[in-house]
Amino acid sequence: MIPRSPYLIMLWWPILALAIASTGPSQYVLHILIIAGIYVILAQSLHLVLGQLGLLSLGIPAFFGIGAYAETLLSVHFGLDSLLSLVLVAGITFVSGLVIGVPSLRLSSHSFVIVTLSFAMLLQVIAFHWVDVTRGALGFPDIPAPSVLGFSWTDKTSWLIAILILDVVTFAAFIRIKTSRFGRALAATKGNEDLARAVGFSTFRVKLLAFAISGTLAGIAGTAYAHYITFIDPNVFGFSVTENLLIMVVLGGSGTVFGPMIGAVVFTVLPELLRFSPEFRSLLYGVLLLMAMLRFPLGLGELTSRFRRKK
């Protein structure tokens, strides 16, 4: 499941992306690659809870949005160095993950799904109405370009490089987590939670940490999104990101640690290549998801290999 030297193998994505970029492609192609890069981070975020632990958290947009808004506010009001604000936002979303995770993880798995989804929607409502801070439905246009140690950029090629660096760093951390002893604790918690507790693990803490890390990853993706798209509004808390992520994580090959990466890239690029309209893509994803659940729920390996059905 985890090949030798995964850190090397994961470089397939930046190498491929840079190779494409070096052929002098259009702005559109670069844009797609950048979006794929952002989804690579988000897919890791969902995978950590859904693939790794079997927790269906539909709350990823909550952290994505917190990251986006936090970064925007820090950038617009304080003009911080983007590396610094990235670290700050990571901290903020990590804490948010703890805050949201503590009550949510205590609930039954049914309630967990509903509550995590509701947190995201509540944040959308707040973002919509707390106009003083978030500018409500108007959102924030003209978000300044990032500035790292004095170096700033707006062109897409630089953005691609920046995103790829972020991808490599986050995915390296992701691999590290999965291959570490904590990753084994995650596997034990997922494989048989009662046994994990009987053996001595506080599975609540295991889940909480994974949930918080997942939130942090989503928040990091949000910071990149904010600076790249230069516009955010309450829709960053919306469900459309989750739609894409579910397909990426569920269909992205759960037998390998690179599943989220492959899923993110494939399901960002493919719809564009095939020129699907957003509605059609949504329709297709729905059909694929339904089929996946009908045909392969047990074959989705990490996703649903539960030792005991939690009902």
Binding site: G54, L56, P103, R106, L107, S108, S109, H110, S111, V113, I114, V115, L117, S118, M121, L122, V125, I126, F128, H129, F239, E243, L246, V250, E279, F280, S282, L283, Y285, G286, V287, L288, L289, L290, M293, L294, P297, L298, T304, R306, R309, K310, K311
Partner: protein, 292 residues
Amino acid sequence: MFDPLFIAQLLLNGLVVGAAYGLAAIGLTLIFGVLEEVNFAHGELYMLASYSLFAAVSFLGLPYGMAVLLVLPIMALVGFGLSQAAILPNMERPFEVTVLSTLAVAMILQSIVRLTAGSTPVNVDTVFETMTFEIAGILFFGQRVLILIVALLSIIAFAVFLRYSRIGLEMRAVAQNRLACQMVGIDLKRIANWSVVCGVVLTGIAGVTMAPLFDLSPDMGVAIVFKSFAVVIIGGMGSAFGAVVAGILLGVVEAFTTGYGSVAVSEGLFFIIMILVLLIRPHGLFGRTVRI
């Protein structure tokens, strides 16, 4: 500000909306109570009913009543399809699988509506909308009164069905102890189909009665499912009675907070109350002993 007429008006509005919330939520809680599955297509089914009504009224030129009579059997069929495609195959699997399946159906339904009807909001007009009458200074809008009557009738009819029919009995039995029911030979598939179809039809009734009140848009299901979850959780997952009580309570609360406060507060309130209920009393008001 504390004008009794204003309060009475708010109360009435709240009751009307609340009854509809309750009705819609029964559909959701029924499926959860009997089958322990969460139907994430709930909101889109409501939306589908509303849009089907719109299509029947606007394109087929049917009067409201006939349109409803056309839409409800369609909803029953859709419910059957949902049961076959997303719920029955996954009953023995981890429930997250059903969540994802029903979510998939939701995505499919919303896309289909977008592709056929477009994303701009549309409107349904019915004859009841223009009817208003006044009693003791309180305005009664025809459509709203209709909603209240239909909701209450549906709830009563369903309660009778649940209590006195054979299928209703079996549904209640399965809700209590699925394994025992299988052992005595109750056909689980049949019960599952019935539960889902009933749930979807009830949701559909809520959809067609409420449709004329607001603009319809393909993403309206999102807000509906959110509110329905809140109602179901507060009322107690699996309790139809709880869903009605919680629905009416929340409808009234919503009316008052919108009337005295703002829409923002009432939207957030649903969620906050739900979280509080989950933390303090996870069974909700009337829920059965679901694992916390």
